[in-house]
């Protein structure tokens, strides 16, 4: 079966613009996670969705970042008024019901000029 997919694979934007990043989890996976990987900070957690429960937003770095998950499947991460420090690879992961192992997508490389 298909793995986690993300789009776009690359995004270049200008400072101050809004961007949307998309994640399609593995079919049937109920948990969905966003992480980002940057040179200075390594791999860090952003947000977690589990079924219909309220998301764990504890990793979002500022109120410019938001995410939603529609219909318990696809998720969109939105960054408003992008800044140069937002440049990073944004990774999405999912895990199955009752399972702990997380599987990662290929990531979206975001460059803010």
């Amino acid at each position: 079966g298909a793995g986690v997919s993300q789009s776009p694979s690359n995004k270049v934007t200008e400072k101050g613009k809004d961007v949307e990043l998309r994640c399609d989890p593995i079919s049937g996976h109920t948990a969905l996670y966003w992480y980002r990987q940057s040179l200075g900070q390594g791999l860090e957690f952003l947000i977690y969705f589990q079924g219909n429960s309220a998301p764990d937003k504890s990793g979002l770095p500022s109120d410019r970042f938001s995410a939603e998950r529609t219909g318990g499947s696809v998720s969109t991460l939105t960054i408003q008024r992008t800044q140069q420090e937002d440049s990073a690879v944004y990774l999405c992961a999912s895990s199955g019901p009752g399972k702990n192992e997380q599987f990662f997508g290929p990531g979206t490389r975001l460059t803010v000029l």
Binding site: Y33, Y35, Q37, G42, L43, E44, F45, Y48, Q50, D56, S58, G59, V89, L91, A93, N100, E101, Q102, F103, F104, P106, G107, R109
Partner: protein, 110 residues
Amino acid sequence: GIQVEQSPPDLILQEGANSTLRCNFSDSVNNLQWFHQNPWGQLINLFYIPSGTKQNGRLSATTVATERYSLLYISSSQTTDSGVYFCAVRLTGTASKLTFGTGTRLQVTL
């Protein structure tokens, strides 16, 4: 929060050599995963191993949860093993995030 330390930070091997990568963590965990990040940035799952020992081909891993460490063994290394190896853990009693170590960068030369 939980601290995850990986060693060594960098490793250069000749093809055919064996190696051991270590991951130390500071608290009780309910999830531990080893990943290989290939040159294209994809995180490849190697092992889900919160405790015990597993083997998959030339790779094996052991986690001693009571002593808060995990080891990844690579035998008969190949150039395709090059990349960054990450250990990631989840704190017991939580259900969300993995906390990643800073990784071990492995280069396998001919």
